[in-house]
């Protein structure tokens, strides 16, 4: 890990884990999207994978529009999994599992599945590529999901649901 600059260490209350891990990780995330864009002109996003992959098994007309892109999306997702695995082997020292309750993951996942598709993007499509494009639509999308997510997480925490 890279050491944080001194002034930022003073902001320890806001950043109890420092910022280097986040900033370096974010740069890699952006770099990954940038590499794909430079070579192919594609601005990559992660949530369309859900629908494009469903087109392999479902004949619903909504999914058919993603048939052309479903192969590279599968490869992209495979890359994400492998890349995270490289991190796990190199830095994490083995597997890590969450303590967040299964029903939160499942229920939250359903909302994420509906919401990202209706809203035309997720944290990578709107957040990284859309904001990078200075797209007003994406900025609005990011604000919408960020504010509602904060509200939801605060309510859940206030209800005493941990973890």
């Amino acid at each position: 890990m890279v050491a944080d600059p001194v002034p930022l260490q003073l902001a320890a209350e806001l950043f109890p884990n420092g910022i280097s891990r986040y900033a370096v990780g974010g740069l890699f995330v952006g770099l990954g999207a940038a590499v794909i864009y430079v070579g192919t002109g594609i601005s990559a996003g992660a949530s369309t994978f859900l629908e494009s992959t469903l087109s392999y098994v479902s004949g619903q007309s909504r999914f058919q529009q993603y048939v052309a892109s479903r192969d590279w999306r599968l490869v992209f997702t495979l890359g994400i999994i492998l890349g995270a695995a490289v991190y796990a082997v190199a830095y994490q020292g083995g597997a890590w599992t969450t303590d967040v309750a299964w029903w939160r993951l499942l229920l939250g996942g359903i909302f994420v599945g509906v919401g990202t598709r209706v809203g035309k993007g997720c944290t990578s499509g709107h957040g990284v590529c859309g904001v990078g494009s200075a797209s007003k639509t994406s900025l609005a999308g990011v604000l919408a999901f960020l504010l509602v997510a904060i509200l939801t997480a605060q309510v859940v925490a206030a209800l005493g649901v941990t973890p």
Partner: protein, 145 residues
């Protein structure tokens, strides 16, 4: 395809390195206990922002596909806000978003399969519903999300 794989690898490594692949870290952020996560999204957007700005001025077309370099611009309508809000509920409840969920599987988090199953169920539900809606107008079928 190999390039997409490499890009995905870097992308996934970043999600792992930033700890964003851990739902707990995302929830800590949303509960104002650790603002570091802001650096992930805006750090990523800063890199793509520069590349999206520079590439169209350097090259006419992408070398591998021959596609023109375009910014990621989606049409704005009510769906962006409605969908964003629904996504927000899910993100705030579970601490998981699509890219980070795939990456979470990569760091050995098998519990995340619950969230992945939920996402596919959710995506299928809206697809099933919108396949039936006659007035479904989504003018951006080729865009990547």
């Amino acid at each position: 395809m190999p390039l997409v794989l490499v890009g995905g690898l870097i992308f996934g490594f970043g999600l792992g390195y930033s700890h964003m692949a851990r739902p707990e870290v995302v929830l800590n952020f949303l509960q104002f206990e650790d603002f570091g996560l802001l650096f992930v999204m805006f750090g990523g957007a800063a890199v793509t922002g520069i590349v999206f700005f520079v590439m169209p001025r350097v090259l006419d077309r992408a070398p591998l596909t021959g596609d023109p370099f375009e910014r990621r611009l989606k049409s704005f309508d009510r769906n962006v806000l409605v969908g964003g809000a629904i996504f927000g509920v899910g993100w705030g409840l579970s601490g998981i978003c699509p890219g980070a969920a795939y990456a979470s599987l990569g760091i050995g988090n098998v519990t995340i399969l619950w969230a992945l199953a939920g996402m596919f169920i959710g995506a299928y539900l809206q697809g099933w519903w919108r396949s039936r809606a006659t007035d479904d107008v989504d003018p951006s079928p080729t865009g990547a999300d």
